[in-house]
Assembly symmetry: C2
Homo-oligomer: 251 residues x 2
Amino acid sequence: MSSGRLDIVGLGPGPFEWMTPEAQSLIEKATDLVGYGVYLDRLPAAPGQARHTSDNRVEIDRARAALDLALAGRRVALVSGGDPGIFAMAATVFEAIETGDPRWRSLAIETHPGVSAMLAAAARLGAPLGHDFAVISLSDNLKPWKAIERRVKAAAEADFVLALYNPASKARSKPIHDAFALLASVKPAETLVAFARAVGRLDERIELTTLGAADPSIADMSTLVLIGSSQTRRIERADGGCWVYTPRSYR
Amino acid sequence: MSSGRLDIVGLGPGPFEWMTPEAQSLIEKATDLVGYGVYLDRLPAAPGQARHTSDNRVEIDRARAALDLALAGRRVALVSGGDPGIFAMAATVFEAIETGDPRWRSLAIETHPGVSAMLAAAARLGAPLGHDFAVISLSDNLKPWKAIERRVKAAAEADFVLALYNPASKARSKPIHDAFALLASVKPAETLVAFARAVGRLDERIELTTLGAADPSIADMSTLVLIGSSQTRRIERADGGCWVYTPRSYR
């Protein structure tokens, strides 16, 4: 059995203050860091530590490379933004293992939780995820649009709050428009909608609007979209701002 | 305007290594800590810092007390386990504000994200939340059972992974049995089910089973229940254990 190990680690949404002490410690102890360049760039260089950066579009290759390094006896930290278990690298690693080198199954492999983008976005707004919610990736790269549509519709009809990941990319602008058209056919126009972009980073921008007034084309790869339930509401603050929350009780 | 402030802070699921540096810093800076006893007991005593413990059943009173302390000019940290925005104190604070003293609306009040119990439970298993999922509280203290039932059914029919919070308490054992009966009528008996209890704490216990074989009576207040989608699967490890994950692609 190999002495190598693979820790799948989430850095949180951006700032150091949202990275867990565990993630920090695992990154320090690793002989090799593997990840998308923008995530590795957040981490200070450490003497003797190897870095393997890769483009975001080859996730399964990155997972395989990390597994091979661990098999060669290295101590590998595979880093993601947010939480690695939410539409991120953890599932990719297990996909790779399922169809890959059987020796990978003897490695010490652990996933470690982090603050996910939806929790950070919700915190900025107040407490919009304070009650039942559904989390859906709008990327149709790996699943048929029909499956996405069915879930968006079911979640809207059952009055869940919705958190939409991967709403759009440069190559993929249609899903978010289709999803909003579908939502508008099920939910009232006054439903609260928030576009939370790059929360915790310097270019953070939160746009609060309604389903009737929303322009889905402002969503990009760094945007998390939150759609309220029938109970989600705003509270006006004395300074002209507001908080958004979903109460625990259902009227 | 009062100089007081209220920070709504999550400690994460238990261990210090999952508490964000931000939460730690806010707790250190607070003049007053407010929270349920078991959460405050996790934190070291600090000289000059006041502690206001309360029983878990009076959440709205605890929120009001924290708001009044802030109004009196104190710097208050209201602490929850996990993430304060997920079925926890943040929504309770905004409920209190909506119907309470109008002066509370002029306070500096911020929610701060933490590692939620579902992210910790998922990490321990591998990556069961790697694809679309729905998060439902089974507590019928504040919402009618009909609303819960409708959401569990909709989420099961649309093939979401499910994360069930508050599955049972000493006074409330029926909902989890009713939810499992409903799930068994919609989903195949071989669907993977995990009961993740007290993840990250000394009495952590994870029970992996199937919908057909599950005994829902093992769930208690400290248990997070995960129900797989049709795609959620296990990968056998060389040591006899397994990982559980939900792939990104939908077949």
